[in-house]
Symmetry: C3
Subunit: 350 residues, 3 copies
Amino acid sequence: MTKTLSGKTNSGNFFEDFTVGQTIVHATPRTVSSGDQALYTALYGSRFAVQSATSFARSIGYPQSPVDDMLVFHIVFGKTVADISLNAVANLGYADCRFLKAVYPGDTLSTVSQVIGVKQNSNGKTGVVYVRSTGRNQKDQIVLEYTRWVMVRKRNADSPAPQTIVPDLPDSVDVNTLASACPAIETENFNTALSGSPHLWGDYAVGEKIDHVDGMTVEESDHMLATRLYQNTAKVHFNQHVQEQGPLGRRLIYGGHVISLARALSFNGLGNAFHVTAINGGRHIAPLFAGDTVYTWSQVTDKTAIPERDDIGALRISMIATKNHACTEFPDNKHENTILELDYWIIMPK
Amino acid sequence: MTKTLSGKTNSGNFFEDFTVGQTIVHATPRTVSSGDQALYTALYGSRFAVQSATSFARSIGYPQSPVDDMLVFHIVFGKTVADISLNAVANLGYADCRFLKAVYPGDTLSTVSQVIGVKQNSNGKTGVVYVRSTGRNQKDQIVLEYTRWVMVRKRNADSPAPQTIVPDLPDSVDVNTLASACPAIETENFNTALSGSPHLWGDYAVGEKIDHVDGMTVEESDHMLATRLYQNTAKVHFNQHVQEQGPLGRRLIYGGHVISLARALSFNGLGNAFHVTAINGGRHIAPLFAGDTVYTWSQVTDKTAIPERDDIGALRISMIATKNHACTEFPDNKHENTILELDYWIIMPK
Amino acid sequence: MTKTLSGKTNSGNFFEDFTVGQTIVHATPRTVSSGDQALYTALYGSRFAVQSATSFARSIGYPQSPVDDMLVFHIVFGKTVADISLNAVANLGYADCRFLKAVYPGDTLSTVSQVIGVKQNSNGKTGVVYVRSTGRNQKDQIVLEYTRWVMVRKRNADSPAPQTIVPDLPDSVDVNTLASACPAIETENFNTALSGSPHLWGDYAVGEKIDHVDGMTVEESDHMLATRLYQNTAKVHFNQHVQEQGPLGRRLIYGGHVISLARALSFNGLGNAFHVTAINGGRHIAPLFAGDTVYTWSQVTDKTAIPERDDIGALRISMIATKNHACTEFPDNKHENTILELDYWIIMPK
């Protein structure tokens, strides 16, 4: 048996390949279209009126319906996989994620990452890489930026450990940056019959818990269509032939698919939370597989006015998603059925 | 165990919540795009030339390809579910459904319903609610209206029965209203090689039966993608975790998905029936589940000219859809494999 | 039992129905939209930058992102099924396929075929039909043409055999016609960080083998969504109720779906092969079924400059796709897991 390697395929970066300060320009830029918006609706059933209806968006001050924030996130994130996490053992977390500018159909998104930290693990075989990724539109305006850290395999266990640098990450995104992607909202035109909920920012209290009631079962086709739409190429989502020989035995569902499902389900209780403006942190606690049913519940953990904005306010939401377990009793992040916790800020009209 | 209800989620209306004359404005308005049209093609494989090709549509008098009539129906209908049928036991029927104005990509659809009848059942636990739902575009023009009636649970079996009011419903939509969504057709430009059928209105005879031959198997992903695309949130379509504990054991496929499948299959035999202009009545006779294969056949039950229209005529079609049973022998609505009967009017060029 | 046939359904053409010189205008014309492009991305995860990003396409000389070549092929091909291969026993091969003009969203595609050969088989029950199919846009410009040959059943075994005419087919498409669908490329703007590969035309050598590494598992929903999107109505792809009674027992996946999967996987190693300009020949060696995982590898079999084009060159690629077998060892077309071989030309920047 001979093995001719052309050296032209991407085998991804290993821990040794990352150095603090390094900048990585990711392929492939992607123009977002109304076709992507339609697919996003079909994949999650999202019902937020601003993203669903041009007329509603215009009535409150948007030039047109913006692209769903999480769709923007997934497209920006998807580009980083081939360079950052192709050899990842685990996606450890997100922090300081800011949605800075609205994205509209026709905009083209691209992503650049900077390595901001590295820390070899004590086993010598893996290390943690911290990157700050920045999504930009075709005008080179930043639409999204976030930090994530992943555990990556070393190419060679004998490679020397780099100097440990762990970035200082905020627990919560700064309130002053929360609203830049949201135009001035004409709140008098915000029709709550059409938006599907009478409850505005002032109606929510810190500590309030909301069981979003509904459950959504995921199929293999669903999550693969979604993950390909985002041009995310992580092998574990797509290759049953390899997965069935591994410890899971199945394809692993992209964690972002869980976030979008939970966000769509959260409409039932947070119907006027029309904009995700920041993600303070997130953690995938357990894997989701096809055939599982996702439920979610939210707690309002903070509430803040936004400087110089009388139209809108922000709610900090702690969202828990579970599989095959209704959230009636508000299971915490240690519950055996919990798969996700996400700490994020949403915008609501005042 | 404690149960903190925030009171912000939608638990739907119960029989007691409906009163005759009441108007319900439904969330969420929805802008229809070419992305929705592409998904509709991918979901059903529809081949009607007017909806498929801008050039064909323009050649016969449309400004561009209209959105498929049944896609309009599903979007308008989907909005009513959260308010009308979230606590429904059964969707009993449709009547007097009129497609009044063509919908084009870019149009935004919204729906308002009026309660036109209530009738408590003798068991005291449920009642029938009749609503007249009206879909409008962003110019407030009515594009579609229809009556449907559903059996809804009472919140409290002890609630007093309301006065019975049952609306008078026509057996068939009035012929004079049949063509308002159809522009003047330049029949000399209607290219039957491109449309896929040489048979025009004059070629069909009352009583004629057409077996549409082909069968289409449905998967869980297919019907869930479709039903989410319509923002229809009825729980029975999506939550296997709950369904597997119930009498069906499986997710129930949205009845409208069956209608669209049958309509797409009917192209083979009714290829020039480019416009569904009215639905006289419809009934879901048995449930469809993933893995089942849908077949359909049609009978021409009436044929009419349309006042002041020399370009087009209408055919009244009785369509039967079955599961896992070819329609070679024209099974009737009592056949054990029959799942749908739909009585509707289509438009064909003269 | 009575059987009323209306005679209005399409039962397809049989071998006797084809005569050399005959022209067949196919239904249904189809306007391609950004919705179709989004679906294509979701179905295959394709990452070629020219098709993905308007900004990238414009920077190198396209007016906007062209529609993926294989999506054009599938739409043009899909139209021929109802007339050419509804009664086909087997799809035998493709040859001399040329992509002659770029297709953009908004273009409407239609297809005409000419019968160029017939040859009855010695068993007297079937025959081979050769057609030259031509896809045109709304301006009547040819965007694609190709020859395919299929084995078709005879309606009546007693029909006399026609005179055998077998067309002369080139082994390879003429190099001089290779670039007409590709505008002048501003190679200095071809950003290889964004395109995802540093390797240009000059970097590839004849004989070079590339294992594209990744595998993609196919689900029933995936291939049916795709095949319906192309309005391809071949029964074997859709009807489990019939298929489970036949020798395969399962739905057969459209061969074009395999080609698109392999082409998308080939990005990893051929990332700058932004345009498929010709297919010299192709053969489906074994069927693919849902649940199978597709892998692929390529060999560069020829390399040519293109007359009067300093910007681009062409590579002739022999692509093998397998199921449930990684291509690390470059399995040939006789390997038990090989399902496809495709001999085609791609364009790369110089």
